[in-house]
Structures are given as structure tokens and as C-alpha cells.
Symmetry: C3
Subunit: 283 residues, 3 copies
């Protein structure tokens, strides 16, 4: 008599599948992303088996929404043209049914960012990825929660991951997609199941773009698997690669090299063995 | 009785000369290039002995055309101001007789890119560098060939290098300069001689900017030697450095570091020893 | 009977203090900086214990001037929006009394850069950082000296550091802040005391952004200590880290990794032991 796998084992299988499929797929996951970590995003996407293409102009965003397997939108360093590019791109994403990842970096800073993020509510991003402060702020901006965090400070979280649990659940219930919250422990939810993943390295906070590139990798996975699996797999590979790189390097630049190398080297089974726990796991 | 060297040995000598001259010249090779690989382009240019300067504004492009030994124009991530910057820059390049390298990244995507690339035809870039799909598409856009490739897909080639042979020859006959096609084997032509170079590493496809930075290095060489020699030397040093880096690193980030280090370390003779074959070599 | 420390020992203590305070402070030092070295700037700031945030838009610059501990303005790759962003940001810096670092990269190239730099005179940046040619050109642009250098050539200095001594002193007397001149030997002055620091590595000239990232690190320090101490400490850590990295790496990309790692590893005492000499040291 065979027994069905435990809910957590089933999650691990789905993580391993996402990693395995991406390695062979060379899926195009275009980005509109900030200039600080744009190269890191592209190299992380290539390392896990995807293909990268970055654009700024409105009609290019629309084309990417049409031809990309999934798209990564990062709000980090806005240019004036984004006032036109981002709305047109999200409309095209919706029209084509293309999955997309929203990274609300620096939410709360500047009028354009606030206006764009508010408008994204009705477009329901497949995956929202941010630190706790960003996730709390986005749920508040969208009127989904009454909670307000301690506010962002530039790009850094000042709130712990667990403080963002309810905001993350509310956001994913609204979008019907997944939310990934980065922190010392990471949290990924689809609105019912809540998974906490751990590993990583303290050095990840000393390398710019660790979070952004996770969003880019999530887009690569989302080109081939459902949003929740993609968010889980991206968070998992970051924890495992971070832990391994942290064992090999004791300073941020050599850590960064080791980390990207691990993104390339890790087998699906190694990623699936990430440390995780879940609530409502069989839901 | 002395014998003249074989045509291929003569090419090797010219490659070695280009590398040697650049090492000592610190030639300024300014770029208007994409934000993804802009740092890689600059560091590759510095590694081979050149000097880098990147700009976006129209009058800065004109100044760079006047003071640069050669200029690198990469179409990767267009900003709105490029609608003015690039036409004014190419006019200034023509007025000053400054050699320039055109990298038609992502040709076919977006109205501005198509418009700019079409307008560049009459300015005849000294060197055109791209993957097979890009070279085929540019020759078609300029009405030089009837062939159409399978189309670009973001920034990746979907056509093999040899399929771009006729397009590359047609482009270089039109410009009077050189065309370098990147792929598993690389092809460089001046419209008569066709050289195929090999080496490199499969890891180069897992590092963003491998192609862009080759264009930047070609501009450094073009500041001091003729276009065909510059295109050959840049392609040669990328093959030799890629092969050596591939022997020292088994994953993309450490490969990238090793590759840039090799660009800096390789002697002219080591680069001249690149594996190559040629058609119409004595032409 | 206790003796007071020598003036130079007092400087070393202040350098060590700046490094020590920054390691624990996670001070936010936002930047408006060029796209070439923007990631290097951020990673260098993180390595010394600071926090980074990069922006382009006018109201975001104003917000950064309000919330940042100090701000880094680098003139490297100007976008059209800078015509509004930079004036509004420097006015906000003045209004909030926020220290800031000006890096007049590529001074002399383009009308917008000249116009902006001329307008900055009355806002008196806390720290000016540049190579000798840039410092000489800025003092001339501001009418503080009659000297004209040999002119910039893109981003490279063509004048030696000591040729910029008088310009540096004149600038710092005008601003009431500090000036740091980078070269084979570095010079830092507050208008009276002139300190020369040495170390580094010739490989620093083969890595793009060495100078820019020093400016970013100076902003991290300036968030917590006076401008002269911040400029000294940034210059000191670059000399010590460069020397150590140069002992471990013989080519630019592995040097760059080693250098960033050293920025992270060096203890305050190791930085304070930088080789330096001073004029008017007890002034």
C-alpha cells in the first residue's frame, strides 16, 4: 500500500521540478529593473538556466510582455519614461496573460513610485517579492490591511519577516498569486499555505541586489511553473546557494562570486532539500 | 631566399600587433551602451589597455566622437534621449572620421531601435558586431540581402554563425569595414576575406555582456589599427581568454573573473596563436 | 607627565574612529551616480558598514537629502532629468544641512555638466573628490584659481596630484569642507592641513569605479564624522585595501574582488596605520 507524500515533501518535489525545468528551458524573462543590480539580475537569471533582456521604453515593455515567458518589474531606480512604460507594460502583461513579478523597492519614496504602485493593484502581479517593510507598505497602499510598518528607509527593511505575515497573506489573497518576503528567515505564501525557509548567509545583506536578483530568478521559474512554485523555488535556491557560498567565502565580493556560481551548480535535489516549515501546508 | 609568410601567419601577426599596440596606448574608446553590461564593457576595455568613458547626452556624444580614438555604440537599453544622441553622435563620427563599432543588440524590438538602425546605414560603421541573428536582421533591414533569419528573441541568437556568412559579407562590402559574428565559432570578414576563429567556453553564454564587451574591446583596438584587424584581434582575444578562463573555472561568476583577468594577462603572441582558418585569405 | 599625541597620531586616531563608527552605524548614504560604477559604489558602501540607495528623479533626490546621513553626487553619466534633479537635490541638502560629496567626473564635457557644476559653487559641498585634472578644472570653473590643467580626457587625469595642491586648498577654503585628490599618491586637505597618503595598487587604474566608490565611501563616513575626517578615512581605507588586494591578486578582476573584500575586513587600526605625511598638520 503506497502512502501519499507528506505535504512538505510535496512542496520539496515542486521546488525541485521548478529548478529542473528551468535548467533546460532557457526561458526568456525580461526585466524593467534598477540600474544598481541590473547586471546581477541578468547573471542570476542566466545562472539558473534562463535568458535575460532589459528594456526601458514603452513599446519595448509591451513587446517583452508579449514574447517573455514571464516579466520582472523592479521599482528601484525610476526614470521619467517609466510613467508611460510601466502602465503600458502591465496592461500588455494582462492582455497576454504573461506572469510577472513585482518588486516594490523603495515604496513610499517619490510621487511617481507611489502612483505606479497604486495603479498596479488592479493588475494583480503573479508574484510580489520584497522585504517585510515593503510588503507591509504595499498591502497598506492597496488598502488590504490597516497595519503600517515602521516605514522603509531607502531600500532596507526595518520590520521583521513575521510582522509581514498578515500583509503577505492579504496581498496573495488579493492577487491570487504568491508573495515572497525576504529576511533572516524568508516567508512565501499563496494566501493559504505559509512556508518559512531558512539558510542563506548574513553576507547577503552586504551584497547589493541579493533581493532584486531573487525576483529575476522567480520570473525565470514563473515562465514555466505556477507562481507559488516559482516563488518557493527562487527563495529556496537563494537560501541553499547563500548557505553554501557563506561556507566558502568570508567577505562580500568573494561571497557574491561564490553565490552566483552556486546558483549555476546546485542540482534540483539540493535545492529541494532547503530547510523549510509550513502552516496550512496541505490546504 | 626569403619566403613571404602564409596569409594566415600574416593575419596572426596583425592580431598580435593590435594587442601589443593597445597595451601601451591607453586609447580612449568612449561608449554609448546598455546599462546591463556597461561596467563589464569598461573593465574589459581597461583590461586590454584602453580607456573608457560612457555618456548619454547629445552634446556629450558629439564630444566623444571628436576626442575618442574610436567609439562603441550598443543599442541594448535605449533611453528616450537616444533619439537625439545617437543621430548627432554618428554625424559627428563621420565629420571627424572617427572609427566606430555598432552593436545592433535586440534589433527588431521597438520602433526607436529600428528607426535608428535604419538611419545608420548611410554612416557605414567601421565594425559591426553581433550574433548571427542580429547580423542577418541588420543586413535585411538595410536591404542588402533577401535573407531573413529566424528572428531575435530578446538578445539571444537563434541562428548559427554560418547562416550569417552572406549577410556579414554583404554588410562589410557596404560599409567598407569589418563585421564580426559571435557564436560557437566566430566569423570575421572585411567583405572578401572570411576568418573563422574558435576557442572560448560554453560559460560565455552564461555571463551577460560577453558580446557587448567584445564590441568595446574592438573599439579600443580600432583606435589604433584598421577595422578588420581590430575586429579580428578582439575576437581572437575573446576566444583565447575564454578558453583559458574555462580551464580555470567551472561556473559563471568565477569564470567571469578569470576571463577579465586573462584579457589583462595575455601576451600578444598568445592571442595571435588563436585557432583560426580563413577563406580568401590572401585576397 | 602625559604628552599629547603627535599631530599625525591624532589624525590616525580620527581615521580609525571614522572606520569604527561606520562599521556599526549602517548609515544611509544615498547616491545620484553614474551607471558604470553604480553597483561598485553600492557594494563598497555596504562593505564599510553603510547603506546605499540610488535615485534619479527630482523629488526622490529631495527625499534622499532629507533622510540620508550624507549624499553622494557623481557627475559621470548625466541623464536629461538631472537638469532638474541635481539643483533640487543640492537645495534640499542645504536646507537640511545634510553633508554631501561632489565628484565632478568628466568636468568640461557637455553643457549640462558645466552648468550644473558652476551652480554648485554656492552650495559648498562638504567633500569634493576627484583626480588632479578634475580638481584643477573645478577650481578654475569656480574662479578660485587662475591655473588651468592640461584638461580632462574623458575620465582620466592627465595632471599629477601635486599639481592640484593649490586648487584643492582653494576649493576647501571656499567650501569650508574637505577636498580629496586621487592619484599615485593621494592628497586630502581641509584648506589648512594637507595630508598625503600612499599605498594602493597600480591595478586600481585598471578597475572602473575605483574613484567613484571612494566618493561613495566618503559619504558613508561623512554621515557620522566631520568632512575632513571622512575624506581622510575614505582615502586611507582605499590605500590600505588596495595595497592588500594588490598583494593577493595580479590581474584586475580578481583584484577588484579582493579589494572589496578588504574594505569589509580591515579593522579600524589597520586603516589608521596607512602611510601618510602632513603639512600644517597641527594647524
Amino acid at each position: 500500500m503506497s502512502s501519499s507524500p507528506s505535504p512538505q515533501a510535496a512542496l520539496a518535489t515542486r521546488i525541485g521540478d521548478a529548478v529542473r525545468i528551468a535548467r533546460g528551458a532557457d526561458a526568456l524573462a525580461p526585466s524593467i529593473t534598477n540600474t544598481v543590480s541590473i547586471e546581477f539580475v541578468a547573471n542570476a537569471q542566466l545562472a539558473v538556466g534562463g535568458s535575460a533582456a532589459m528594456v526601458y521604453l514603452p513599446d519595448e515593455g509591451e513587446t517583452m510582455a508579449a514574447v517573455g515567458g514571464a516579466v520582472y518589474l523592479n521599482m528601484g531606480t525610476l526614470f521619467p519614461v517609466y510613467a508611460e512604460t510601466l502602465p503600458r507594460t502591465v496592461r500588455a502583461l494582462q492582455a497576454h496573460g504573461t506572469p510577472w513579478v513585482l518588486d516594490p523597492v523603495a515604496i513610499g519614496i517619490g510621487a511617481l513610485r507611489t502612483e505606479l504602485l497604486a495603479a498596479f493593484k488592479e493588475f494583480r502581479p503573479s508574484i510580489i517579492r520584497g522585504n517585510a517593510s515593503e510588503v507591509i507598505a504595499l498591502a497598506a497602499l492597496w488598502g488590504l490591511t490597516a497595519q503600517t510598518g515602521q516605514g522603509g528607509r531607502g531600500v532596507d527593511a526595518v520590520d521583521g519577516v513575521d510582522t509581514a505575515r498578515d500583509a503577505a497573506v492579504a496581498l496573495s489573497r488579493w492577487t491570487g498569486g504568491a508573495v515572497a518576503v525576504s529576511g533572516e528567515t524568508d516567508l512565501v505564501t499563496d494566501g493559504r499555505t505559509v512556508v518559512r525557509l531558512s539558510g542563506g548567509s548574513p553576507l547577503m545583506t552586504r551584497v547589493t541586489g541579493s533581493g532584486c536578483s531573487l525576483g529575476g530568478v522567480a520570473a525565470v521559474y514563473a515562465a514555466s511553473v505556477p507562481a507559488f512554485d516559482a516563488a518557493l523555488a527562487a527563495t529556496a535556491i537563494y537560501n541553499v546557494a547563500g548557505e553554501r557560498a557563506g561556507a566558502r567565502a568570508d567577505a562580500p565580493a568573494s561571497f557574491r562570486t561564490a553565490f552566483l556560481d552556486e546558483l549555476y551548480r546546485l542540482s534540483p535535489d539540493e535545492v529541494a532539500a532547503v530547510k523549510m516549515s509550513c502552516e496550512e501546508c496541505g490546504a
